[in-house]
Point group: C2
Chain length 104, copies 2
């Protein structure tokens, strides 16, 4: 049986790992896409890259506490932990994503 | 003769390199220290680490466009390029530094 995916608690979120995760344009793009929907699988959020690369980026986002990955039926669906991040670091996520240009 | 230090122009600043540079607590600490003064040498900004480490962190900050390093007499003095960054990415630097805790 696959081990359940790990998510840091709100108190364990750090500016270091959030900024590192958001310093990559592919990862910012995934977060922006997820913000605009109710949840999305990895390959749907990022269909122009190899699955292993997409999976790697999602792991960094999950470990940083930016996304939550949950099994829904046979799929793993990701959502942005916006409320958690805003609670811990108000304004940070919005300030970063405001400057994200799609496709960059 | 030492080569002059390179600084990216305002139009070449990127969210990627700014966030990466700011994802390290030592580097955020240096930026915060420099914001509170007219300029500071590397070893004064960060006197509890080996000079090579301090120099490395300053290089990442300089390459990202966060600081400007200028010769003043025999010393190299660093200042934060706050106006340049605010012009290119309004609100980003303040939003990040607001959540920096000294000593972390």
């Amino acid at each position: 049986m696959a081990r359940p995916l790990q998510h840091p608690s709100v108190k364990d979120l750090t500016v270091d790992s959030l900024l590192y995760a958001l310093s990559d344009p592919v990862r910012r793009g995934i977060v922006v896409k997820l913000m605009g929907c109710d949840g999305m699988s990895c390959n749907k959020a990022c269909d122009d890259l190899p699955p292993s690369t997409v999976s790697f980026h999602h792991k960094i986002l999950r470990d940083a506490g930016l996304i939550r990955s949950e099994k829904r039926g046979v799929a793993v669906i990701n959502t942005v932990r916006k409320a958690d991040i805003d609670k811990r670091f108000p304004g940070l996520l919005d300030a970063v994503l405001r400057h994200h240009k799609p496709g960059k």
